[in-house]
């Protein structure tokens, strides 16, 4: 104990000493008329390797692009803007280690990410304690109840689930619905919210079941669905389970509507689920990319072109949202914000018009406006954007 107190005192002393020196240095440099140069870094925490890398890399690229496009402008303000990749593989066990590294780098002003609810949940307390703002794409609804320095750049899963239920009951007029999940935080959270909204919309849930995310044989669940006469099925799961299930469901003789959640929306889906994927619906908070029928001109189209030029690949789901989140941090820096606490204040009070939507956050970190969910469907082996759920379910 004594030793620790002594160490802490020594630490305080040395910090004070350093501060005096740097203050002196600052004064000296300003005497000679140089603008003080400062390095500011923006970190991206998401999957750059591992099983979800297909989903995480395009978001990181969006962040990287926004940083690259603003470096010159900020250099004029004496700021050296840098991009820091923080690869957590979307593994909640690894995420805290990655987050601690980010926190230790005092030049990092804010984090874009984490990109999943599970990882956001794992690092939320750490970032909050260090007042690092995180602009997360994690969509689990409960994250907003914890008082973290979290700002969710996309609508949460309760809204996504409501869009699934509304679309099935109102647009497709389906009343008998099966709701399946893989028992994970993500899948189960979505499924529970879909069930609640189906009941609210006057439909009935005729099959509800959890399946094993590591299993391959879902035949007993498929038999239950076909026996129940369900005309619509939602499965909350990750892409591997979702595609295996999709295939078995269709091959098992089911001919109704099948809905998959945002985490599975990728061109790989068609490859993995094969011909059975034809007609599968998706909900996603992500704005439509060019390939899915996104805009052909305007700022979003320009972003798609810039992205393709830099990375020789097409932008994917959430690339533009990653770009927007980074651009909002850059806007804060341009307005004079220089540290983490300042950025938290800025995000809590200001709004920003991005490529995909207007970003303004409520006190709990949820987006305040533009909470539309996009609906997609696989047509002729390609993902096609149908429109925003609010327009489609009127």
């Amino acid at each position: 104990m004594y030793l620790q107190d002594f160490k802490a005192m020594l630490n305080r002393l040395s910090k004070g000493f350093l501060a005096t020196i740097s203050l002196g240095a600052l004064l000296a440099s300003s005497n000679f008329g140089f603008a003080a140069s400062q390095t500011i870094k923006i970190a991206y925490e998401g999957a750059l390797t591992g099983p979800v890398a297909f989903f995480g890399i395009p978001i990181g690229n969006g962040v990287q692009l926004a940083v690259a496009q603003n470096q010159e402008a900020l250099a004029k303000l004496g700021i050296d803007l840098q991009y820091v990749p923080a690869d957590d593989q979307v593994d909640a066990a690894q995420a805290p280690t990655v987050a601690r590294k980010v926190i230790q780098d005092a030049d990092i002003i804010g984090v874009v990410g984490p990109i999943f609810g599970s990882t956001t949940n794992a690092v939320g307390p750490l970032y909050t304690q260090a007042s690092v703002p995180m602009l997360t794409m994690g969509t689990a609804a409960a994250l907003a109840t914890k008082g973290w320095t979290m700002f969710r750049v996309v609508p949460n899963d309760d809204l996504q689930a409501a869009a699934v239920a509304d679309y099935m009951t109102k647009a497709l007029k389906i009343t008998k619905i099966g709701v399946i999940d893989d028992g994970t935080q993500y899948g189960h959270g979505l499924a529970a919210a879909v069930k609640a909204q189906v009941a609210k919309d006057g439909g009935s849930v005729v099959v509800e079941e959890a399946i094993d995310p590591n299993g391959d044989d879902f035949s007993s669940t498929v038999s239950k669905i076909t026996a129940s006469g369900a005309k619509g099925v939602f499965l909350g799961a990750s892409v591997n389970t979702e595609t295996v299930f999709n295939r078995q469901l269709v091959e098992g003789g089911y001919s109704g509507t099948f809905f998959a959640p945002d985490g599975t929306l990728s061109p790989d889906y068609v490859k993995l689920a094969g011909p059975s994927s034809e007609g599968t619906y998706f909900t996603s908070q992500a704005a439509p990319v060019a390939d899915y029928g996104g805009p052909k001109d305007g700022p979003l189209a320009t972003f798609f072109n810039d992205y393709k030029a830099k990375f020789s690949a097409d932008a994917q789901a959430y690339s533009a949202e990653g770009f927007d989140a980074t651009s909002m941090i850059v806007a804060a820096i341009k307005s004079g914000v220089r540290d983490r606490a300042g950025l938290v204040d800025y995000l809590r009070s200001k709004d920003y018009r991005g490529l995909t939507r207007t970003y303004k956050f409520q006190a709990n970190g949820e987006p305040e406006s533009d909470t539309s969910i996009n609906i997609y469907q696989i047509k002729n082996g390609k993902i096609a954007w149908l429109g925003a759920s609010s327009d489609l379910t009127k």
């Binding site: 099983p51 094993d212 590591n214 044989d217 035949s219 007993s220 038999s223 295996v244 003789g253």
Partner: protein
């Protein structure tokens, strides 16, 4: 819906699904039970041998570039080639496993649990090697084998894939029976399973007999791997984990070391899982399978058809 009503409604669907997946469990169980019968060793890397077969078949199918629109003869030949490649790859891998992971330990008189750990280590090493080479996601099988419904009985449908699985499994079992019961090689293996010391004294080449046992187990697992890949249209580096566990369960259920027992255990496990899954919530279907195993072990510890293990001195 009550359990029984739902069971009644989905009885035939569960029956056919259960027999199909149970046949694959039986193919895996055969290799496990034979190795256990002669070495008293659970080969924990057996699931990975099965996975290697699924990958080899996928490699051949991709290389041949067949698709659903190819001619019937082309598809048949491609699937036969894929099955042969899968069995060859799994058979070779199983023999390599014996030579690398088990034989050196046996030669040095290491205790059996050391061999078990060695097998577990190989299992993880093979999984991770495949994860590095092919990624951690699923790899889809090309949709070559036409999915036709051949017969409908109430809720149940017998599809062409189920028939393929059952024919292949049956063929493999007849072949295995011929080899084990009616050849010199088979007699050697059976002698080894009864009493290794006496078998050695009678001139059985023990190392070779063990190697052949691993080879036969690998061939069965490889066939199981390609059938599993075609049935579920996928493979992945973790493909063998759960089927490996199920195969072990099937082997114990039927009586370790007992070949007909392994087949019976596999089919029963497949049926119980699917009938249980129809009756109870789907996530509990494994509980039904493993629960049945528990009951069998309590009342009949030697398994349904009885153990056949080597006499150890």
């Amino acid at each position: 819906m009550s359990c029984l009503a739902s069971l009644q409604q989905q009885f035939f669907a569960s029956l056919f699904n259960g027999l199909a997946i149970g046949s694959i469990y039986a193919l895996i169980a055969l290799g496990l039970t034979m190795v256990y019968g002669i070495l008293n060793l659970i080969n924990f890397a057996h699931g990975e041998i099965f996975m290697i077969g699924a990958f080899a078949a996928l490699g051949v199918l991709s290389a041949l570039g067949v698709s659903a629109s190819s001619s019937g003869l082309g598809i048949t030949l491609a699937i036969a080639a894929a099955a042969l490649a899968a069995m060859a790859a799994s058979g070779a891998a199983a023999m390599l496993l014996e030579v690398v992971a088990y034989r050196p330990l046996r030669r040095r008189g290491a205790p059996r649990h050391a061999a078990m750990i060695s097998g577990l280590g190989c299992s993880v090493a093979i999984q991770e090697t495949f994860a590095l080479a092919f990624g951690r996601g699923n790899l889809p099988y090309p949709s070559v084998f036409p999915l036709k419904t051949l017969l409908v009985v109430e809720s149940g449908r017998i599809t062409s894939r189920m028939v393929l699985i059952m024919i292949c499994t049956l063929g493999m079992m007849i072949l295995l029976d011929r080899v084990v019961m009616h050849t010199r090689l088979g007699r050697g293996i059976r002698a080894l399973a009864q009493d290794p010391v006496a078998a050695g004294l009678m001139g059985v080449n023990i190392s070779r007999a063990i190697l052949v046992t691993f080879l036969i187990g690998g061939l069965c697992a490889g066939l199981g791997g390609v059938l599993y890949g075609i049935y579920f249209s996928k493979t992945s580096y973790m493909l063998g984990f759960i089927p490996g566990l199920k195969g072990l369960t099937a082997a114990i259920l039927g009586g370790v070391g007992n070949l007909p027992g392994a087949v019976l255990g596999g089919l029963l496990l497949g049926l119980m899982e699917n009938l249980g899954g129809a009756c109870l919530p789907g996530q509990l279907k494994d509980v039904v399978g493993f629960g049945a195993l528990l009951l069998v072990l309590v009342f009949r510890p030697q398994g349904l058809l009885g153990e056949r293990l080597a006499r150890r001195t």
